[in-house]
Structures are given as structure tokens and as C-alpha cells.
Symmetry: C2
Subunit: 549 residues, 2 copies
Amino acid sequence: MSLKPAHCNETKKANHNGIVQPLLTDLYQITMAYAYWKSRKDQSLAVFDLFFRKNPFNGEFTIFAGLEECLKFLDGFSYSTSDIEYIRQILPSHIEDEFYQYLSQLTAKDIKLFAIKEGTVVFPRIPLIRVEGPLIVAQLLETTLLNLINYASLMATNAVRYKMAAGKLKLFEFGLRRAQGPDGGLSASKYSYMGGFDGTSNVLAGKLFHIPVKGTHAHSYITSFNNFDEISTKKLAPKEQGAPRDLLQLAIEYRKELISIFNVLLSEVNDGELAAFVSFAIALPNSFMALVDTYDVKKSGLINFCATALALHDLGYQALGIRLDSGDLAYLSCVAREYFRKISQIHNIPYFEHLTIMASNDINEETIVSLNEQIHCIDSFGIGTHLVTCQKQPALGCVYKMVELNGQPRIKLSQDVGKVTIPGRKNVYRLYGEAGYALIDILQRTTESAPVEGKKVLCRHPFQESKRAFVTPSKVEELLQIRFDQGRLCKPLESLQEIRETVEESLKILRSDIKRTLNPTPYKVSVSDDLYHYLHTLWLANAPIGELS
Amino acid sequence: MSLKPAHCNETKKANHNGIVQPLLTDLYQITMAYAYWKSRKDQSLAVFDLFFRKNPFNGEFTIFAGLEECLKFLDGFSYSTSDIEYIRQILPSHIEDEFYQYLSQLTAKDIKLFAIKEGTVVFPRIPLIRVEGPLIVAQLLETTLLNLINYASLMATNAVRYKMAAGKLKLFEFGLRRAQGPDGGLSASKYSYMGGFDGTSNVLAGKLFHIPVKGTHAHSYITSFNNFDEISTKKLAPKEQGAPRDLLQLAIEYRKELISIFNVLLSEVNDGELAAFVSFAIALPNSFMALVDTYDVKKSGLINFCATALALHDLGYQALGIRLDSGDLAYLSCVAREYFRKISQIHNIPYFEHLTIMASNDINEETIVSLNEQIHCIDSFGIGTHLVTCQKQPALGCVYKMVELNGQPRIKLSQDVGKVTIPGRKNVYRLYGEAGYALIDILQRTTESAPVEGKKVLCRHPFQESKRAFVTPSKVEELLQIRFDQGRLCKPLESLQEIRETVEESLKILRSDIKRTLNPTPYKVSVSDDLYHYLHTLWLANAPIGELS
């Protein structure tokens, strides 16, 4: 065990509570394991690459996430007695006892895992993870590693895209109730924070991952109040000093003034709503944020909110703002801002003009882009369903392919050229230009020496012979780093905060035309001249010559 | 604790391993809880309905699932010391100690939960769950209940739709690697089995939920063999008796015969593939199922499979069949069946004609429908991504709305009529016609007496005055049953197998035009005349009269 006990226990428990275990796999991994063992191929030295073939969401980049979970999985890889018992039940009865003894002693101690740093921006075909070790173990890791990387990377990428669309606006993840199960919700909170979100509504995610949590109240809170009589405590002590005052009475007075300023009839303003706001403000006077669309936003919600906020102001408290959860968000946000501005002027309260306006109704990436093309006064978004289920594309297609066995390259051919694998043990280098942007990624055989700064490198398209370019990098970054070896982590796990910073830094090295939503430019992933020939020689050798007749 | 310890421990651990706990909620539930407590509304008697507004996947029905998880959640509802500590950190510092003491003693003991039987077919607007009890607890349950019901019901419904599309073909869930996280994968296996799938590839799901597991080998198994020399054990003992024989040699002999029958050149058949098949057959001679599309299906995969299957036959074993994972599945399945038929005749082996043909390449509901409109010879499908992520619609929109507080009805108005809630504590009855099909569901106030068999009932559209019908039911079924009361489960939890049977039975009572994929007929959900008037009187009373000027 290489993880420090305290850290290890806490974070292990934090994530998937024991669901991530060797049995979280496809049965065929176990039947293959038996067949490998039976044919004495189990200790063959295999190399597998984990990669994807297409960026998600019609974009041209992906954020690599989920590595921490993979490393913890490797670190704890071992079948329990009850696992072995279960496997014995589902495999044929003729299988040798020796195999089960063998399985029960299997760990990942002979596995080497190389990976790109979690949070890095990545592209199709580059190995995100390279696994080297005994065929049987390397194969048994497949499904679990894919499961841990696919959704994590998809979710982090989705979050980054929302964040880019939102610009400087703040974003909060509110999706727990619609997520794909309890852990779907937890993972969504974690990876959206990794991708740059400012917080979550998910309390457990806050507790486990130290993510800021955010929330006010629901429509049901508002509708639970019918009238003023339902507030039991109406008094609130001033923030600094002095005797408690009747906040409800103060708010009622302000409301009289406001309905005349904003041309509203008293009969149009809902009393239950004011009661709800006042009671909430008394409970949480320093963080009063109100949902203003239970009844009419302009004629009731905003009037009641402003009345309560002014009353709070008299006692030395600053309200935070409002949340809009329905209707024309751009328009209503401007109406709200106008109310705030007017009151700010009349009462000479500068902060009032800048109260937060949060919107949270069925927001997706396109809504944010479209809102930002209109005039609006929204400061932050609360985002649920579309974000957490990645509605636009709910799965990333990472695959895990054998590229070498006992030193011999392995290639998977396909009539679809995009599905041909790049054989052999490979390194990946990111080449940077003078402006600091990444120019191209290049895959090389591990037997080749690394590209050198200031020296020309021939970069070739892996499949199209005529597509090639000389690149003289100002900086060369080796992407794959060893992370697990000899049964131990090679360096400590990064914190979520650190990975979040990696995401931010990594995005900066990407030109904006690659990141944009509409018709982004593809980033180039190339192979060295040596790898190009290696690949194509193998391809020809493995493709049988047909005969036309 | 009302669950039997053994059962309880096992199934609790089985599902979400402690992730399902009171902190798996939105922060606003806790801020509202504090505000309710502060304004002494916490013990008000609230009634909440959990329901959805629209069936998923452009269909006209939904399967209700996730109830077992909800009941276990209620049964164990309690904040741990570390939960309270964490809540204290995130709430403002002025909050009274008494509140935290209060929270730490909170359980669901005063909650009554009524629910429809898990696995039942359900429709928009009917309460799937009705929660009654102290406002503070009922409110605190919201997010977790929604999270547990939404994906479970979506997934079970998706599985049922695939199953209906597939008709008599067998279906297996293969989606773990692409699911939304580890628990997303586990839940997908569980709820697709509930919806009628025949098994899963997910070993942990098999272990935890007693679902049949299925699997053969991957392309990497095939490509790990280059030639005949790589098989260490070539001999296999006959099934019944006799000396072991060289299976590889037998297969090579049969292959010679087959290439002449099927007009293939020996150079076109891959030796590594045959080595892989033979080694796998030696390991698992009673369950030999081969992936035949690593190289050319017609010229290599099928030839090598049939050669191995014939060799196995000589030793008294029956191969199971093949899996196709790429290409034109309809066409290739017919080619395969034709090979099997020919060999069956030539060698007089009847079962050979009926070997299983499984297809598993990117299958979704539409692919199955479209394949079934063509000529094909597929027996079963292995389905991954589209099934488990519910790609067509990755979230169900269940909501949880307060309908009564301290005996007073609550209504949520909306400019969108579909979003107006139906107020008050309600029962739901399903009325059946003589043919045994369900005719209509009717919501009634709990103060009304139940509809009676053979007696005319007036069923009204909840919002359209002129839409109403008299129905004389042959059978009346009360859908909501009490499941949790006085801190205990009112009856034992059902097994997954029992719920799976409920799904099957429940679908039988639905007319086929409601279940069909293309332009299904909506099933009617009505309200009683009494509830109609109650709803509309409240609606008018709560909608303020505007003034045009």
C-alpha cells in the first residue's frame, strides 16, 4: 500500500464507496483471463493504450479526467474471498482450483501505468493511459479503467464548454435530482468543479470533495406561506447593535412605497411570498437570496424581494440577490436590474444596483451562448439536467487496445481507417510554438529520442501519406508520465483543486479557434516518420491480399 | 430499524454503499429546513406528490422504478456526527446550537410514504409516491427521492422499449464501460434486468443483484495470438470419455474442408484467429462462443469458428455460437446462418443450424426495429452505450411538489397549464375494461370513496372542461399503497425478480397502441368531478385578477 493511510481512507471512501473493485468489469475479461492462464499466456508482457477517437459535443478538444480513480483502483486491485466464490459460481464447474488460487493472489504489482496529467487537454488517438504488464492483469483492468475515464472526461469537458460559453459569469451545478443515479450526481459535481464551475448544490459533494456549496430555497418554501400570520418570529436584531426590530413591518412599509414607484396594485403582490421572504431573511440575514418567480416576477416577486432587502438594509444587512427559474430570463433579468438601479438611486444604496441575478431554468450550453448574444443582466447560472447527464452526448467512446505483446507490435485493422490502431509502445510529445500555444502532438516509438527544442521535427498524418509538416518547437512537453510501478503510486495524488488549476492552465495553451463552439479548427495529432513506416509496414503485412475472380 | 438485519445489510451494501444518505441533497433543502425550524413551521403537516409530466423517449408510458432504494433511504435517514459538523461549517455561524441538536435527532419516523408498486406502468401527473409528515423532514427527502427514482425509472422504461422492439430475441446489457460512472453502470444492469433484459456483462451486478452474467472474449484476445505455435495446450479430453485429442489438429483438418466448400483461399484465413478460437475452446469447451469479426467475417472468422466447432463436436461438445461486432449485421448474420445450415446438412449435425448469432455493434432501439424490418438471422443483441446512458433522452423529469399543508391545499400555478399542480391529498385508481386492459387512471381526493366495479364513474380531463367521459370499470385497482409508516417498512421489500415480473404483468394490461414506438396513443389520466371543482376553485382563488390600463 503506497497511499498514506489517512488520505487513502478518506478519499477511497469519498468516491465510490467500494463499488470500484475488480468485479466491476465485464464477464468476458474473466473468461479471457482463464483462457490466458490455461494457455499459459497470462504472463506475456502486454502493452495497452487507452484513447478515444472523436472529441465529444462536436468540439475539437477533451479534458482528461478520472485518473485519480484509476490509480486508486490499481492500488487496491485484489479479489476478495467472496469475489472468488462468486466467480466460481458463474464459471463452468470443470475449472481448476489452481486458477482460483491464482486469481486470489493477483494484484497490480507488476503493472506499470503511464498517464497524461489529469486535467490536461487531450485529443483523439493519443494514449491517455498506457498500461504495461502481464497480459492477464492488463486485460482485467480494461472495463473498470474505461468506466472511470469515460464519464469523468466527458463531464469535465462539458463543464469547460459551459464555462467558456459563460465567460465571466459564475456557474453552479444544480443537477443532483436528474443525474444518472447517486454516484452520477456526485461525479457530476466533482468533475464540473474540476472543469471550472464555481460550486454545486450537492451537499455530499461539498463534504467529500471540498467544493463550495450553494443554495437558497425552492418554490415549495414560498408556497408554504399563505399570509403574514404564519411567521412566528417577526423580529430581527440589527447586524451591529441595537434592539431587535419587526422586519415584517419594515418590509410592509417599504412595499407600500415600491408598489407606487413600480406601478403595481397591492392586490397583485402576494402576501404569502412576502411572509416567506421575511421569514427566510430572519433565518439567514447575511445570505438572503430569494426565488422570485413563484408568482408574477414583476408585480410580486421583485416587489417583495426589494421590500425585504430594504428592510434588511435598515438593520445593517446586505441581501445577496435573486434567482429566476422560469420565463424570459434575458428580459426579466433586465427588469430586475432596472428595479435595483432605481432603488439604489432613490435610497442611495450603491450595492443595491449590483445585487446578484441568478438564472436556473433548463440551461444548456446553447442557452448560455444565445443569452450572451442578447442583452441580459444575469450574473450567474444554476445548471442541472443538461450539464450532469451530458444531454448533447451522454457517453465518451474511450477504448483500450493492445498495441504490443512480448515485444511484438499488435495492430487492429478495420475497414474504417479511423479505427485502425497505432501499434507499439509509444510516447507522446506536445510541441509548442513561440507564442506559447501548442502546435501539434506527435506520437513516437519509445525507441526514438525525444524531439528537441529548436530542432526541426517531421510530423506526419498517421494515415494520409501526403500530409506532413516540419515543425520547429520552441518547447517540447512529454505527456505520458509514469504514475504506478512496482505496486506503488510513483507520486502523490493531486488534489481536486490542483487538477482544476491544471485544466485552467492547459486550456490557455490552446488557440481560441480550436476551442470555439462553432466550426472549431481541429488540433493536429501526428506520428513521427519512424512510427509512420512502422505502422504502414505492419498494416500491409497483416492485410491479406485478396483475389478478384 | 424495520428491515431484517441480514437482508438489510446485504442489500444496503449492494446498492450505493453509503452514498445514499441525507447529505446527498441540495443545500437549499437544509437552508429551508433551518428557516422552517426558525419560523416554527417545521412540524406543520405536509403532503408532497412525486410525479412526472411527460413520458420519456417520445413514448406514452413509463415504468416506475427505484422505490426499493427510496424505502431503504427512509429507513436509514439520519445525520451522522460528521454530517452535522459539515453542515455547521457551511451554514452561517450565527445559527443556534439547538438547530444542530434538532437535526442530529431527526429521522423519518413520522413520515408516511405511499407508493405505487415498483415495476408498474405509470403515466404523467399521477403521484408515484405521496409523502406525508412534518414539513421539515418531507422537504429534506426531496432531492434524494428524485435522484433515486428518475434514473431508475428512465432506465427500466428504456429497457422495456428495447425488449418490445426485440420481440423474442434475447437482450444483454453490455454498457458498463460507457455508463455514467461506476454506479451508473451498476444501476443500468439492475434496471435493464428489471425491464426484461436477459442478463448483463457486469460481474458485480451479477453478484449483487443475482442477474445472469454473459460474456465471451474481446478482439484483444484474438489479436494476442499470431500463429499456431502460441497455443501451449493443444489437447482436450472428450466430454464423455476417451483419451485427449489434439483439438488444433482437428480444427486445421476441418478448415481444409471448409475453405473448399466456401470458396476461400487458405491465405485469406487468419492462423492467429484459429489459434485464439482453439485455445478458448480448450479452456471453455462447453460454452464456446466466438467473436468472428476481428479479420474478414466470411473468409476468416466464420471458417475458423466452424472448424473449431466441428472439432469440438468430434469430442462431444456443442459450441454455442458467434458474436458479430461490426459491419452489416443483417447481411452477415444471414451469411453465418447459411454457413451453419450447409455444415449442418453436410455433417448431419442438426444443432449446428441453430447456433446462436449475437450482434453487438452500437445497437439502439431504432437499430433493432430497423433490423427486424429486414431479413436477418440474429438471435440476440448485446447492447451498451445507447441503453445505459439513455442516449435518446438521458434524464426523466420527476418533480416533488407540495400539495397540502396543515390540511390546506397548495397549488403551484404556472402560465404553462401543464405545470399547474393538482392540489390536495389524492388517491389514484386504475379502471379496467372487460377485455382486461386498463382504460383510464383517475385521481380522487382521499375524502371521496373509491370507484366501484360495475358502477359508472365520471372521469374528467384535469384542465379541459369539455373533455369528460363516463367509465364503468370491470375492475378497480387502487395504485397507492402505504409502504413506510411509524419508522418501519409496512411490508417486506420485493426481490428484483418479483419486480421484473410486475413489469411484465403490468405491460400486459396496456393496449398495444399505447405501447407502440410510432405514434403511440396517449393513455388517459383523469380527475374525479369533485377533484376537478376543487382544483379549479383553488386555481381561481389563487390567480390574481389583473387590470388592463
